[in-house]
């Protein structure tokens, strides 16, 4: 794409990578600098209560680097540690990064959030919940100071609960086919409301409700990335130059957009019905078509592209 050569690692799966692999491969080689590195051993003071092992980064890596020579701040959740959850330490690291972006105009004006999280860590539920509230507020404040915050969703844990709300607070959302986002996960809905409401073992159903393609089609994500490091990088680069700000006009536009979606698609009983309602000629083909064919369908679809977030 330009003057910074990435390696064959560009083709590696985002879904299968760890948070540190994603950062190292997404950013220009050698450009990543971490804040509060694992050598500082900042770990959860609470997990020991539950006889659970802690991690020296608490599953949240924050720092700065370059993306095709542009300076960026970055945060990445490790979905394989406690489900990438928001907790006292992991949440505070992200809060600190966002507040720095908000307050220090010398810092990069772009923040990338590599989300991979089931939401709030139950073992630290109160601290985690509050951290999400602080993150959401800090994102709005940073955006109001001219910072663009982009969420990248394509990890095993997806972006659910507080992570789903965090993503939707960002300026832009990039998602892959394997990326999933929402509030209550299918298992939680099944446990609380019964298998008739949501059969969490029906993988095709789960994907059609929460997966990357349907989110992109209804305008719930702003870009669709191939499940590779290069796929996510290209999608971010395509979005980076222009992002909506948080003001009354934008939120009115978001309101109209969301109310319109509820009105237009609210009576649909399945994702297939939604896709048909959106004007997709062969909704059944959406699931199995390749990424290029899917991208072609998205182009020109009303409501998929907008500045109302």
């Amino acid at each position: 794409m330009s003057n910074t050569k990435h390696s064959a690692a560009d083709a590696t799966s985002w879904f299968l990578s760890t948070a540190r692999e994603r950062l190292a491969r997404l950013l220009d080689p050698g450009s990543f600098t971490e804040f509060l590195t694992p050598t500082e051993r900042v770990q959860s003071p609470h997990l020991a209560l539950f006889d659970l092992p802690a991690a020296f980064d608490d599953g949240m890596i924050v720092g700065r680097g370059r993306l095709e020579t542009r300076n960026v701040l970055v945060a990445a959740q490790e979905g394989q540690f406690m489900g990438g959850t928001f907790a006292e330490v992991s949440g505070a690291k992200l809060v600190g990064l966002l507040r720095a972006a908000r307050d220090d105009a010398r810092l990069p004006r772009i923040v990338l959030l590599l989300l991979d999280s089931g939401g709030v860590r139950l073992q630290e539920a109160n601290a985690g919940e509050l951290a999400v509230a602080e993150v959401m507020r800090a994102i709005v404040e940073a955006r109001s100071s001219g910072v663009t915050v982009i969420a990248l969703i394509g990890g095993r844990a997806g972006a659910f609960g507080g992570a789903g709300l965090t993503a939707a607070t960002c300026s832009r959302i990039v998602i892959s086919e394997q990326g999933r986002t929402g509030v209550s996960g299918p298992e939680v809905i099944e446990t609380n409301k019964g298998v008739e409401e949501f059969d969490s073992r029906d993988k095709a159903l789960v994907w059609s409700v929460t997966g990357g393609r349907t989110r992109r089609l209804i305008g719930g994500a702003d870009a669709y990335a191939e499940d590779t490091v290069a796929g996510f990088r290209d999608a971010v680069l395509a979005l980076i130059s222009h992002a909506p700000s948080v003001d009354l006009a934008m939120l009115r536009a978001e309101h109209t957009r969301l109310a319109g979606r509820a009105e237009r698609l609210g009576a649909c009983n399945s994702a297939l019905e939604m896709w048909a309602q959106l004007g997709i000629a062969e909704p059944r083909a959406v699931r199995d078509m390749d990424d290029a064919a899917f991208a072609a369908i998205v182009t020109g679809l009303t409501g998929a592209d907008h500045d109302a977030r």
Binding site: F35, L36, E40, P45, L49, F50, V62, R64, L73, V89, A92, K93, V95, L97, R99, A100, D103, R106, V120, L122, E124, A125, N126, A127, G128, E129, L130, V132, A133, E134, M136, R137, V140, E141, G161, G162, L165, T166, A167, A168, T181, G182, S184, I189, T191, K193, E197, V209, G220, V246, L248, L251, H255, L258, A259, R261, A262, G266, S270, A271
Partner: protein, 243 residues
């Protein structure tokens, strides 16, 4: 306290908040000095889904559009986000975040926002409403939480008794007002025996200009290191050595 008792005590000179079939609270009340308080919220423990979010967010945007600086009171009793395949399919995360953003815009636009939790306040619905305000207060019978203890026991695979025992030594995870206060989420607990109107005025006088909830959690010991970690990250990001 019931919602009616709360509203009478908050607005002794009267208010225009009628009970609504959809359990949403929308209207205005009068301050002791005659000024207007904009009131939005959700009552009766109702779950917050798309149909609840839209009128609330729309009302907040209309308030911002007036250009007034009237305070906004967000009254909350909700069992949490609506658990529904339909709402998830439509992107409930975007709707809940939209409501939070509208409230945050209001506070940035000069409306002091005060959350008041009198019943339940759970998980995603809590984030979209009461936790998106400048300051959150509660009545003593409020039950803010992320998840109830039996469900938490199921997910963490720990016996409920063990969780109850652990909650005695750590406020960081267990549901309830005492713990949410300790971590800094709830700033004040109002006294139902005294006029709420006076307590509302007193709260309005101390609405913080910045997010101070992590500092509060450190002071109260419920969230011992969050504030310090956020500061350290920001300091290192700005090129300083660790503090």
């Amino acid at each position: 306290m019931t919602l009616d008792e709360i509203l009478s005590s908050l607005f002794p000179t009267g208010h225009g908040i009628k009970p609504r079939p959809n359990h949403l609270i929308l209207g205005t009340g009068k301050r002791v000095d005659g000024g207007t308080v904009e009131v939005v919220g959700i009552a009766d423990g109702e779950a917050l889904g798309i149909e609840g979010v839209l009128p609330l967010a729309g009302r907040v945007l209309d308030i911002v559009a007036t250009g007034s600086k009237a305070p906004i009171l967000v009254i909350v009793d909700t069992q949490g986000q609506l658990m529904s395949r339909r709402d998830e399919m439509l992107g409930l995360n975007e709707y809940l975040a939209h409501l939070a953003k509208c409230l945050l815009l209001a506070s940035r636009s000069g409306h002091p926002t005060v959350g008041l939790n009198y019943g339940k306040a759970v998980a995603g619905a809590f984030l979209a409403t009461a936790l998106a305000t400048d300051i959150l207060v509660a009545l003593p019978d409020a039950e803010p939480s992320v998840m109830d203890l039996p469900s938490m026991a199921r997910v963490t695979k720990l016996p409920e008794d063990k969780l109850k025992e652990l909650s005695q030594t750590s406020p960081v995870f267990a549901p309830g007002l005492v713990f949410m206060k300790a971590v800094g989420a709830v700033a004040q607990v109002w006294d139902p025996a005294k006029p709420l109107a006076d307590q509302f005025e007193a709260t309005l006088a101390v609405v913080p200009a910045r997010d101070t909830r992590d500092a509060l959690g450190a002071e109260r010991g419920g969230r011992p290191i969050a504030a310090q970690i956020a500061r350290r990250v920001a300091h290192q990001a700005s090129g300083g050595d660790d503090v």
